[in-house]
């Protein structure tokens, strides 16, 4: 395996952010953190990340809007975006895909499942 994959975690909840980022780091990811949608878009477009874990319920700019902005702004390399939502409502997945996300997972996060989805997203990327 080459260099560590870079993951951007866009999450406004402090505990979730802390927990997820630490667990990802333990599994060998380089983790970048954004606390809101705007920062998430900026970092995603400039930070050379491989995958973005995007919480959908964010203040001001929500996850869907952020995903659309990333897709609109990125040049060349296409970053993988995995939407995370606590809603688990019917149609959330379709909505996320329509906004430009590649995958979708529900919160609370099943960590092993999330890792599998990240791997899958990266696999399609590389």
């Amino acid at each position: 395996m080459s260099a560590a994959k870079r993951v951007l975690l866009v999450e406004d909840n402090e505990m979730n952010r802390d927990m997820l980022s630490r667990r990802l780091a333990k599994r060998g990811f380089e983790v970048g953190i954004a606390m809101d949608g705007r920062a998430g878009v900026d970092m995603a477009l400039t930070g050379n990340f491989d995958v973005v874990l995007m919480d959908m319920n964010l203040p001001e700019i929500d996850g869907w809007e952020a995903a659309r902005m990333i897709r609109a702004g990125e040049k060349g390399k296409r970053v993988a975006i995995i939407a995370l939502t606590a809603h688990a409502m019917q149609g959330d997945r379709e909505k996320a895909l329509a906004a430009g996300c590649d995958e979708y997972d529900t919160k609370p996060v099943d960590f092993e499942r999330l890792l599998a989805k990240i791997a899958a997203a990266l696999g399609t990327k590389t």
Binding site: M19, A86, H87, K107, P108
Partner: protein, 697 residues
């Protein structure tokens, strides 16, 4: 020359004449005519009858003298005839010219006066005059006395006939008067009148009328005219006593010696009744009651004539009684319905054919605030509608006018201008096929609608609360589960088995809590009608193999074997895959939970337009009683089960609701100790399906 043959032939002639006469006047003129014989010297014959009221003699017939008028009256106290009348004996005046009392008819001659006696009483006098003095002798007296006797008998008979005819006429009049009874309507009054007339008609001393109660098969006496005792209200069994007997036999009956009659009812042991005549009161073949007439005088013997009259009378009495009875029933019903309308909390108003108010009940006054006096004759629609609701109200009225029932819910205006919500009915009132008006009912549902809307918004708030609560709970739960997992991994890496176990418990409790929250969220979404279905084409075999893989570790926990039975192809199914998977996992995990070292099977088969998914286990099973509660939310077989086996207790409730949303259902059958089978049936194509009605949990 002998005049004897002439006298005898006169008497014979007289007998023949008066034998045919039936009326008094006729008898008189025939007597006079029969006796007239110039050869016998009976030159003038007259017959007087006494007017009982004045005592005057009235000339009834006369022959032999012109100018005398029939009907002439002679005051008592003078005249030769008066003597015969007073003494009751034949009076002979040989020379009238010497008699001071002679009412002068001839200048000279003789006169015989013979009284007409009926039961010893002089009712008239026969007067025979001759122009010759000393014209009459003993043979004449004999013949005239015989004639007078015959005349008396004939007159008595004629009078009796008149009496009888009069009585018959009266009785006929009584019978005729039954027709007026037929229109009398109060039952007790009618019964008394019936009895009264029967007693008069038959000239008896008493009687009774009983009506027949079909339900209890008893006769109840409702009118009685018997001296001893009050019999009204007395009941006789069908077949008991005279009245019960005629009720049973349907034939009239005569009892001449009632004292000795063995069939006498015990209620009549003390009465002084000599004879009884009884008849059933029938309308066609239907028994209405019976009537008895009684007589206490042994001299009065009931005969066939009496029976004939009673049987003539009885059907009319029966009709009169039945009319009154029907009227009483109808009247009671009328009163009942009037009371219902009066007491009804629903405003009831009757409209005429022009949709104007004809009648209203107190509830109308309360509901709308108008009094009857204010609104009678006015247009109902104009009164209680607004311009906005007028069209709608007219439509209802027109529907009712068009002979159909109109119903709906709408707003109507009260007198004070406030509005009420009403549930309304418009019903045409049809009498004998003809519409005579419209009946409008207004049920004030303002409170009801308010309560309903309150309940609806409360329910909405509840669902909203549950949805946001479960969302808010999930975020911290996320952290709990995540951190415990993380620490568990760390502890495992350190080989710290004590911490691993504890952390596992935290994680497991967190996951249970999460499952609960998810289930509650599902249920509240279903109840709020916000659970969407995502129907997509799927091969059920794919779902099944997916489930098969997932449940392996689950089934292994209690050392169970999992068996899957499915045909090689099931075709394409249109269903909500996520929910189908969730339901199957639910049933299988339940089965695995309640089975140890046994078998859990999933059997899939096509059945018409449905696919059946059966989950069968060899576990502990449950009773029928427990089964019936199993599909309710939070109902495991008993409270202890939850502690022992875990689970949210919502799985089956959710499964049932999901199934019904997709037009299917889930059922279970079980025997304690012998395992359970739960069957999910789902339509193969759920795209056009209407959800099965959900009962509220």
């Amino acid at each position: 020359m002998s005049r004897t043959p002439a006298r005898q032939s006169a008497l014979l002639r007289l007998s023949a004449e008066i034998g045919a006469a039936l009326e008094e006047d006729d008898v008189c003129s025939r007597v006079v005519h029969g006796l007239r014989d110039e050869s016998l010297g009976y030159n003038l014959i007259g017959l007087f009858l006494v007017d009982e009221h004045t005592g005057e003699r009235v000339l009834k017939a006369c022959e032999g003298l012109k100018g005398v008028k029939v009907g002439m009256r002679i005051a008592p106290g003078h005249g030769l005839t008066d003597q015969a009348l007073r003494t009751g004996k034949l009076v002979y005046t040989a020379d009238v010219s010497k008699a001071p009392d002679y009412v002068r008819t001839f200048a000279k001659g003789s006169e015989v006066d013979i009284p007409l006696l009926v039961e010893g009483k002089a009712v008239g006098v026969l007067c025979v005059q001759s122009r010759d003095v000393n014209a009459f002798g003993k043979p004449d007296f004999e013949i005239l006395t015989a004639a007078a006797n015959q005349a008396s008998i004939a007159i008595a008979r004629a009078r009796l006939l008149v009496e009888e005819r009069k009585r018959a006429d009266e009785q006929q009049a009584l019978l005729d008067s039954m027709s007026d009874l037929a229109s009398a309507l109060e039952l007790p009054k009618v019964l008394r009148a019936v009895l009264n007339r029967a007693v008069k008609l038959l000239g008896v001393t008493g009687g009774q009328v009983a009506i027949y109660h079909e339900d209890t098969r008893e006769m109840e006496i409702l009118a009685s005219e018997i001296e001893q005792g009050d019999y009204v209200g007395t009941r006789l069994a069908y077949g008991e006593g005279a009245m019960g007997t005629v009720a049973r036999t349907r034939e009239p009956m005569l009892i001449q010696n009632y004292d000795e009659w063995s069939g006498r009812a015990s209620a009549y042991s003390d009465v002084n009744i000599h004879s009884v005549m009884c008849a059933p009161l029938l309308i066609g073949k239907r028994l209405v009651g019976s009537i008895a007439t009684t007589h206490s005088d042994p001299k009065r013997i009931f005969g066939s004539d009496d029976l004939r009259r009673l049987t003539l009378f009885a059907p009319q009495a029966a009709i009169a009684i039945e009319n009154a009875r029907l009227f009483t029933i109808a009247d009671r019903q009328k009163q009942f319905f009037e009371a219902v309308v009066e007491a009804s909390p629903v405003a009831i108003v009757t409209l005429d054919n022009q949709a104007n108010i004809a009648q209203l009940n107190p509830a109308f006054e309360r509901v709308f605030g108008w009094t009857a006096a204010e609104v009678l004759g006015k247009s109902l629609d104009a009164l209680i509608t607004t311009p906005e609701t007028l069209e709608e109200a007219r439509a209802y009225t027109n529907t009712a006018v068009a002979m159909q029932t109109a119903k709906g819910i709408g707003k109507r205006k009260r007198k004070d201008g406030t509005f009420i919500d009403v549930e309304l009915f418009g019903v045409p009132v049809v009498v004998s096929g003809e519409r005579v008006g419209v009946f409008a009912l207004y049920h004030d549902v303002t409170e009801l609608l308010r309560a309903k809307s309150d309940a609806e918004s409360a329910n909405k708030a509840k669902s909203q609360f549950l949805a946001s609560m479960s969302h808010e709970l999930r975020t911290p739960l996320n952290a709990i589960i995540g951190y415990s997992e993380m620490l568990e991994e760390d502890a495992r890496a350190r080989d710290d088995s004590e911490s691993t176990g504890d952390l596992q418990k935290i994680r497991s409790a967190g996951k249970h809590l999460l499952a609960l929250i998810n289930d509650i969220l599902d249920l509240s979404k279903i109840e709020a009608g916000r659970m969407d279905l995502l129907i997509e084409p799927v091969d059920p075999l794919t779902v099944i193999s997916d489930v098969n893989a997932t449940v392996q570790p689950l089934v292994a926990v209690n050392a169970n074997t999992f068996v899957l039975k499915a045909p090689s192809s099931l075709g394409t199914m249109y269903t909500d895959v996520t929910k189908l998977r969730q339901m199957l996992l639910n049933l299988i995990s339940n089965a695995a939970k309640f089975t140890e070292k046994g078998t859990v099977s999933l059997i899939v088969e096509k059945n018409g337009s449905e696919i059946y998914f059966r989950v069968r286990d060899t576990g502990i099973g449950i009773t029928t009683e427990q089964m019936s509660r199993l599909f309710e939310a939070f109902a495991q077989a008993d409270a202890g089960t939850t502690r022992r086996y875990g689970g949210t207790g919502l799985g089956l409730a959710i499964t049932r609701r999901f199934c019904r949303l997709m037009g299917g259902d889930v059922t279970g059958e079980s025997e304690p100790g012998a395992g359970s089978t739960f069957t999910i049936r789902l339509p193969i194509d759920a795209r056009a399906v209407k959800p099965t009605p959900q009962e509220t949990a």
